[in-house]
């Protein structure tokens, strides 16, 4: 099915563990994004990618690593999870247009709990 898929939908892990959240899109969108959603903060950008092999930091990148070896995939890795990284994580994608007049399409989110 076309769209943007995140996996897993729910994840529980322990502090210090490495965890990877997956994001896959079938539109061939150039841009992909990772956000975290916390009460009182709305959505905050963690990392984004303009194309394969091009990534850049967002507002809250510390403790996260991303890669983009293929256009359709944009995994987010927490190398050593901390309780403060308990959150709902959203992946999004958008086309590359000069006007920037393209909305971002979001996945259904991953609820990550770190004990």
């Amino acid at each position: 099915d076309a769209g943007i898929t995140q996996s897993p939908r729910y994840k529980i892990t322990e502090t210090g563990r490495q965890v990877t959240l997956m994001c896959h899109q079938t539109w061939s969108h150039s841009y992909m994004f990772w956000y975290r959603q916390d009460l009182g903060h709305g959505l905050r950008l963690i990392y984004y990618s303009a194309a394969a092999d091009i990534t850049d930091k967002g507002e809250v990148p510390d403790g996260y690593v991303v890669s983009r070896s293929k256009t359709e995939n944009f995994p987010l890795t927490l190398e050593s999870a901390t309780r403060s990284q308990t959150s709902v994580y959203f992946c999004a994608s958008s086309e590359s247009r000069a006007t920037g007049n393209q909305p971002q399409h979001f996945g259904d989110g991953t609820r990550l709990s770190i004990l």
Binding site: Y35, Q104, G109
Partner: protein, 115 residues
């Protein structure tokens, strides 16, 4: 840096009535886009409406319309004939119109539609 402020953490409205959600933003740019996203309990992020800053005409999508006041940097969302399915968190978001595709979100307004 751009900021987006939603001053109403929670609102409620009776079914079939009209409600307006407020959003203000701060930017020094002239080329930008504004969006309203809806997040129902299912956690999806759904684009409701978008507005290009260079357009004076307010955007409309069925029961949803905006009041875009560029000089005041205000972008409110009006929902007419409210339905129970409109119950959701609503996020206002800003996008710079240049090569930067990063969305900046407000903290959200939780709207409850009562029967």
């Amino acid at each position: 840096a751009q900021t987006v402020t939603q001053s109403q953490p929670e609102m409620s409205v009776q079914e079939a009535e009209t409600v307006t959600l407020s959003c203000t933003y701060d930017t020094s740019e002239s080329n930008y886009y504004l969006f309203w996203y809806k997040q129902p309990p299912s956690r999806q992020m759904i684009l409701v409406i978008r507005q290009e800053a260079y357009k004076q005409q307010n955007a409309t999508e069925n029961r949803f319309s905006v009041n875009f006041q560029k000089a005041a940097k205000s972008f409110s969302l009006k929902i007419s004939d409210s339905q129970l399915g409109d119950t959701a968190m609503y996020f206002c978001a800003y996008l710079h119109g240049g090569s930067n595709y990063k969305l900046t979100f407000g903290k959200g307004t939780l709207l409850t539609v009562n029967p």
